[in-house]
Subunit: 330 residues, 2 copies
Amino acid sequence: MKAFIHHGLPGFEGAAYRDMPEPTAGPGQVRIRLKTAGLNRRDLRILHAGKEGDPPIILGSDGAGVIDQIGPDVHGIHQGDEVIINPTLHWFKNTPAPPPNYEILGSPTHGTFAEFIVISADQVEPKPSYLSWEEAGVLPLSALTAYRALFTRGRVQSGQTVFIPGAGGGVATYLVQFAKAVGARVCVASRSEEKRQHIRKLGADVIIETGQDWLEALEGDKVDLVIDSVGAATFDKCLTILKPGGTLVTFGATAGDEIQLNLRSFFYGQFNLLGSTMGSQEEFREMLQFITKHQIRPVIDQYFPLSEARQALHRLQETHNFGNIGLHIS
Amino acid sequence: MKAFIHHGLPGFEGAAYRDMPEPTAGPGQVRIRLKTAGLNRRDLRILHAGKEGDPPIILGSDGAGVIDQIGPDVHGIHQGDEVIINPTLHWFKNTPAPPPNYEILGSPTHGTFAEFIVISADQVEPKPSYLSWEEAGVLPLSALTAYRALFTRGRVQSGQTVFIPGAGGGVATYLVQFAKAVGARVCVASRSEEKRQHIRKLGADVIIETGQDWLEALEGDKVDLVIDSVGAATFDKCLTILKPGGTLVTFGATAGDEIQLNLRSFFYGQFNLLGSTMGSQEEFREMLQFITKHQIRPVIDQYFPLSEARQALHRLQETHNFGNIGLHIS
């Protein structure tokens, strides 16, 4: 089968579109003929972290497709079922942290940038029928990340104000839609005029140029919750706009991960800094119910054929995208 | 009346034991003849932050005594009632953060290092009868701080392991006793052999020399909760012993308040960093019920007469104390 893999040298040099052996479903497993797959920044990190001697690994955490082979001891799933893949492996219940054997699909296990994937049957969920294949294929990782960060960790409430510094990637587009769906007021900062315009269409209430004085732009109204994936570049600014007792959920650090923090200001402010990453199977299912109830759709930036996964990853690396980038497979 | 005050120059130069006008209870207020008062590091901070031209201010946040004058419009309090003072002003309900007009007793309002104090009637609570005057006088601020940090913020549960880096001050002695009372396992670090011996007597399960490798000393068992008031000096070490999904409550920074934090490790660890300081009236009342139920007593380091408040503050500044330092007043 055709697949987009990484092996050997770090970076794009180690990446290739090539033939890989077609996998077969073992006990408890299903094989999916993938229709679509989605890109995540994690794919780039794995590409760049590669080293000589690595075995070939099929990249990709997100995907959707049709069940085409069912292994022994699998119940309740049928040939031809349309499914979406939960990329969180081995983390089922909504515990404070994943178990030690937790993994994300797509390294060290083979991922979704391929014609077929074999995966444990408990990693698949019915594809929400109102979503297109293009929408379903890019949804899982970023929508799950947004769900856990905003609800399980941030516990956003109707009427609260949520601030999202950095409107670029896929997760932000879900954060805005999810927060609006529960009746929160949403403020977003972005450096890009184009992204600010996109965010406006998603329903954000206040849209700020990142370089502005944020508190001034908010007319002095501090916020209840910040959901941040920018990290070092704007961390200090996030705390200046947080209400006493407010919460900052951190789930990414695209602009640096080493921050300085004044503990005294932090505890006098009764602040909460909460780390979040991915989510459990329980949260994945809640997220699917939530988006179905509110008919929320992923924002699609651009689709490429699987054979052009390299170009798709370049686009993601250059952060030109607004919303999710996907791959057409079949 | 006699009082220990600060005015003018910063530091001990601006401190004096002298006569101050005897206050009178106005509407909604009571006057207390103080029996005992307690010292806190806050008193030292106010002393050292003083500046020329400051009006004389009576120091002290903690105290207990007998009602001896009742102003108009006060109900349910009687002459001769034995009371303990809640040092948190204007923060009544257990909200995520105190209201904007929140203050701590003892600057800018006159405090407890005096023969009399006039205070709003809703700031006094019945003295738990099993406590001596010496115990009641030193209890309020540090026991309230410990209560909020450990229960409201840290949500400690029976069976969890709590780590307390720094066993010195008053708050740590309550943290150990409170956590043991609810069935938690308690680990404490201290640089001082003498303090480690004291902590052992309070029931701590594991006692570590601060310079040791903490994780090794814990035999590799990470902890659920860290309640920290040391700050910069040991902040990194705290995160190395915290379980994934674990919580660090910060309520002080005696060894520096500027810390560095790696956000990526923090969110991959699903950690929680929660700021805490003081507590509300609601928490003060819960704390009094809790200590009464468990018959918990403050650890008293040493008592001085009010006239020797200066020497008492020196002892606190040199951190030679284990437990609370108090002043006998009448």
